[in-house]
Amino acid sequence: MGRYIIRRLVQAIPVLLGATLLIYAIVFALPGDPVAALAGEKRLDPHIVDVLREQYHLNDPFLVQYWHYLTGLFRGDFGDTFAGVPVTDIMAGKFQVTINLAATALVMEAVIGAGLGLYAALRHGKAQDSMILGATLVLISVPTLVTGFMLQLLLGVKLKQAGIDLFPVAGVAEGLRSYLLPGFVLAGASIAYLTRLTRTSLMETLRADYIRTAVAKGLPRRRVVGRHALRNALIPLITFLGADLGTLMGGAVITEAIFNLPGIGQQLFTSVYLREQPVVVGIVTVLVLVYILANMVVDLLYAVLDPRIRYE
């Protein structure tokens, strides 16, 4: 197990290097001068400009700049913005919002998706099953952009006018409640995929020999489904959920825009236009790390959940 983890970490290095290099190159190619952007409309003293350019290695060639960034990164230093604020300070608050949002979405996804999938699998071939399948198709097809505004109008505004103020529609002032609606919107398509996955996986497991044995032993249906089938059917679900954490965090930008959540999406926007390279690269680097780590944890969980799998 230990050797496997080390091997996976080593394999992750080229991915991390490649992704940061790619993002760094894109940000490097952004039009406009960051030092000029710092001053806004005013003209800066040329001397100050020189000092700033020197301080942030802006006069060096691209690869040298990247090298400076990378060595900083390995010391855990995400660098400073051109205004002198540490990037980690900026990112911390923004990532908190996005993580809250993604976590809310993930919980909804797990509960609703697994629940609907379980129900559909047990009613396989009946009307409820087809209805759930149809609903997943709609949920997959309707873009976040549309579900976001629809739910904002229906649940946030119309319901409030009817006297039920359950779901705040903008900002994060209401604590966890603020994330309910955006969380559901963000989870939308994932809920549908998870429902389908649970349904297929459970139906497959229910056909296994050990399930027939369990039924033949005379065990109650609850126990057969809950203990014997569900446990084994859950394995692919865990993989999906784990891999989805990164997708949800990276895909949150449209949801954040609809619901005015001050997360990484909004920060990325601001930073792109201020040409704050370190912030942009930092945000994407953290997302890449989340993706790599989540996938690794999922692979390791596999071995825990399914004793047949052994990593050497």
């Binding site: 080229p14 991390l16 993002i23 894109i26 198709l137 549309v146 997302l287 790599i292």
Partner: protein, 312 residues
């Protein structure tokens, strides 16, 4: 082999029953994967429905003036004094914030969505498919390099990545949106093509062709490609819907298409300010967008079911 023969036999029996063809089917009739799939598809209501919807959308994209006599690019058709009117005989979908006819704009918006969706799909299918074919077939260092490169792209969240690429080109239009989406999503088709080539290339008929002295290109394009392409086509069709959704999302965020181009995402962004008092200008493009994405995803679903008898 029995898999491909079985439906043909069944079909022969069916015809026999109707008395149209009492004798056995002609020996030269080959039931390939595609004729089987087509036979199956023609009988699926899901396929017929989505195909009809897609045909209407394509006609709308090619000849929008068939659907409306108003030219939304003509500024004279917008009357500020008629802003945010409800549905009426003159303005079927009402008017937007600038007094423009929402119906005409929605109809004309189909073109950009379809063009972005179809072109991006074709680019990713060609680039990813071709690279996947070569990498899967040749293996070795080439395969390793490409596989590592795709891992890097998978780790980068695609909407955020597209946002950055589009920020580099200051002017957003259909070409830059397609480029940004294609650059980030070709690894998906690559992976699928590579995986199916790896299974196909070890089949006996490929070994037989190789033994008969077939050249590498002949093996790849004549023997492997036709049998490996099905999964790529299915995934491409489903991706087409998500490209359309992504274009709308990026235009909504302000980095995709820009005014005076007409895009459903752009219309949604323009209407959002007054959305709660006048939902029409936002809802109608949203409905068209959802239906378009739904149609392509349904088509992909139907084709997948038809091509993969095991899933039934």
């Amino acid at each position: 082999m029995s898999d491909t023969l079985a439906p043909d036999v069944r079909r022969g029996a069916k015809h026999g029953k109707r008395g149209r063809r009492a004798s056995a089917p002609k020996p030269d009739r080959v039931a390939s994967l595609w004729t089987d799939a087509w036979y199956d598809l023609r009988r699926r209501p899901l396929f017929i429905g989505s195909a009809a919807l897609i045909i209407v959308l394509i006609v709308m994209a090619a000849f929008p003036w068939l659907f409306t006599s108003v030219d939304p690019f003509d500024a004279a058709t917008c009357q500020l004094g008629e802003a945010r009117q409800g549905m009426s005989g003159v303005h079927w979908f009402g008017t937007d914030n600038l007094g423009c006819d929402v119906y005409a704009r929605t109809v004309y918006g189909a073109r950009n969505s379809i063009v972005v969706g179809v072109t991006t799909t074709v680019i990713t299918a060609l680039v990813g498919g071709l690279l996947g074919l070569v990498a899967g077939f040749k293996g070795g260092a080439l395969d390793t390099v490409f596989s590592r490169v795709t891992e890097i792209f998978f780790a980068i969240p695609s909407i955020l990545g597209a946002l950055l690429i589009l920020a580099v080109f200051r002017t957003g239009n259909v070409w830059t949106v397609m480029l940004a989406l294609a650059v980030l999503t070709w690894p998906m088709t690559f992976r699928i093509m590579r995986a199916s080539v790896l299974t196909v290339k070890n089949q006996d008929y490929v070994t037989a062709a190789r033994a008969l002295g077939a050249s590498a290109p002949r093996l790849m394009f004549r023997h492997i490609l036709p049998n490996a392409i099905a999964s790529v086509i299915v995934v491409s069709m489903i991706n087409l819907g998500s490209f359309i959704a992504a274009e709308a999302g990026l235009s909504f965020l302000g980095v995709g298409l820009r005014s005076p181009d007409i895009s459903w995402g752009l219309m949604i962004a323009d209407a959002r300010e007054r959305f709660l008092e006048a939902p029409g200008p936002l809802l109608f493009p949203a409905i068209f967008l959802s239906l378009t994405v739904l149609a392509f995803i349904m088509l992909g679903d139907a084709v997948r079911d038809a091509l993969d008898p095991k899933l039934r």
